[in-house]
Amino acid sequence: MQDNTPHFRRLALLWVVSSIVLTAIVVFVLAPGMPPGNGTVQASGQVVDNTVLLGLSTPVALGVLLCLGYCLIVFRERPGDDPHLEGPAIRGNSSIQMWWLVVTTTLVLFLAAFGSIELLKDGAGGGQGPNPLSVVGNPKSTLQVQVIAQQWQFTYRYPQYGGFETNKLEIPANTTVEFHVTSLDVIHSFWAYQLGVKADANPGQDNIAYVQTKAPMNFAVHCAELCGVWHGYMFDSGKVVPKTEFASWVTQQRKYFSPETHLLTPYRHTYFPAPQRRGG
């Protein structure tokens, strides 16, 4: 029996209408609240990236799911159907093939270009290695903070303020910060979630990541690389504070850590500290 139902037109109409509605909901309602939030320029950039990715993938996912659902419902076996009867064989459709290739190729190429541009724009908060392609802000006004990972705590050095080291991370608001991430032992990963910063901490490597802060806020810091028995406990918190508050905090920290500052190894981008192996 010939089936004259316009299945393709029905499915296409269903897909177009539901895509418009659901994509609008995703882009304008769900996406703005997605992690990591809008605390920094890089975090906001990641929200935009996630919005674009989710906005483009919504119609694609809908197309697949609708087609599956439509087939399961419309082409299901009904009582009285011959269970051995199969539909007509599909021998190819050059028009569908051409459009499939055009649409998917365009989508993939667009996303590749979009991702590359977003990465080059401001580093996207990721570790760029010792020679970053994307240098953010004016180097003269950039705050440098060295993140030193060790089993199992992050410590921080401020080379522009005498190289003091502290176990607390504070950075000023409305400032470009250049994180120099390294490790003294195994591989760790510095993940300042709400800042939108994530950079691997490798021993002997200077991994640079940028962030442009906005208003004061608190943020969490986690190690994102399995690094030993206390990896799950390797977390702390940090603060973005007003510039005046940052200045007084630096003064207070320099004073508090003055007994040990002169004992520290002179500031370098990487360290290979002794002892490498215990003598005993």
């Binding site: 060790q150 040990e260 004992l263 500290p273 003598g279 005993g280």
Partner: protein, 218 residues
């Protein structure tokens, strides 16, 4: 055929039970805990010791370790979970029997987070020690507490070999810190003191019950 199936079933059941017991015992095995004793003014007191090697009957008699002891350095117990009350000052007296290894990060050569900002080393008030003199560190990162422990001289007359170290040379370190709300926190050493392991960070540094443990604030 039936007998064979029965034998296979019994064998498989036995294997599953043995594996289950092994996993269960492994997961429930907890190093012992020690409760801090009351001290003057509502504070509590902990007496700890660090030794170059655990007792000879320990499963790892060559591993460096912390122990719980008393003010007379007797009654040695291999426990690394310390129970202390919330919102209380904790006085710690630490008898340090091991020799120096040195810090990989000199940052930990200064005491932080202690009451008054320092500690005493053999009765003398100090805030930092030379990084190369550190034998161990007692640190509770989540509470912001860290104290370096100076090692005994390499040419000490009576070095300790294995716990208990009664009669051996030692350094006495005292410090205090204040607890906050209830919670379970880890403490650890920051000196790479795991002898025989890459960079000294294996073995006792990676095993709860030797150079790390818990602070249970109740």
């Amino acid at each position: 055929m039936k007998q064979r199936a029965l034998a296979v079933t019994i064998g498989l059941t036995a294997v599953v039970v043995v594996i289950g017991l092994y996993i269960g015992l492994y997961l429930t095995a907890q190093p012992g805990s020690a409760t801090a004793s009351p001290s003057a003014g509502g504070a509590v007191q902990l007496y700890l010791a660090t030794v170059p090697a655990a007792a000879t009957n320990d499963p790892h008699p060559t591993w460096v370790s912390y122990y719980v002891t008393n003010s007379q350095r007797q009654d040695w117990q291999h426990k690394t979970t310390f129970v202390v009350p919330a919102n209380t000052t904790v006085h710690v007296t630490l008898f340090q029997y091991d020799s120096a290894t040195g810090l990989r990060n000199e940052f930990f050569s200064q005491a932080i987070g202690t009451t008054g900002g320092g500690f005493t080393l053999n009765g003398k008030a100090v805030r930092a020690i030379p990084p190369a003199n550190a034998s161990h560190v007692f640190a509770i990162p989540a509470l912001g507490v860290s104290v370096p422990l100076a090692g005994v001289a390499g040419n000490a007359k009576n070095p300790c070999s294995n716990a208990p170290c009664t009669g051996a040379d030692y350094n006495t370190i005292t410090f205090s810190f204040r607890t906050g709300a209830k919670g379970l926190f880890r403490w650890q050493c920051f000196v790479p003191c795991g002898a025989g392991y890459v960079q000294g960070f294996g073995g006792p540094m990676q095993t709860v019950g030797y150079m790390d443990g818990f602070i249970k604030v109740v």
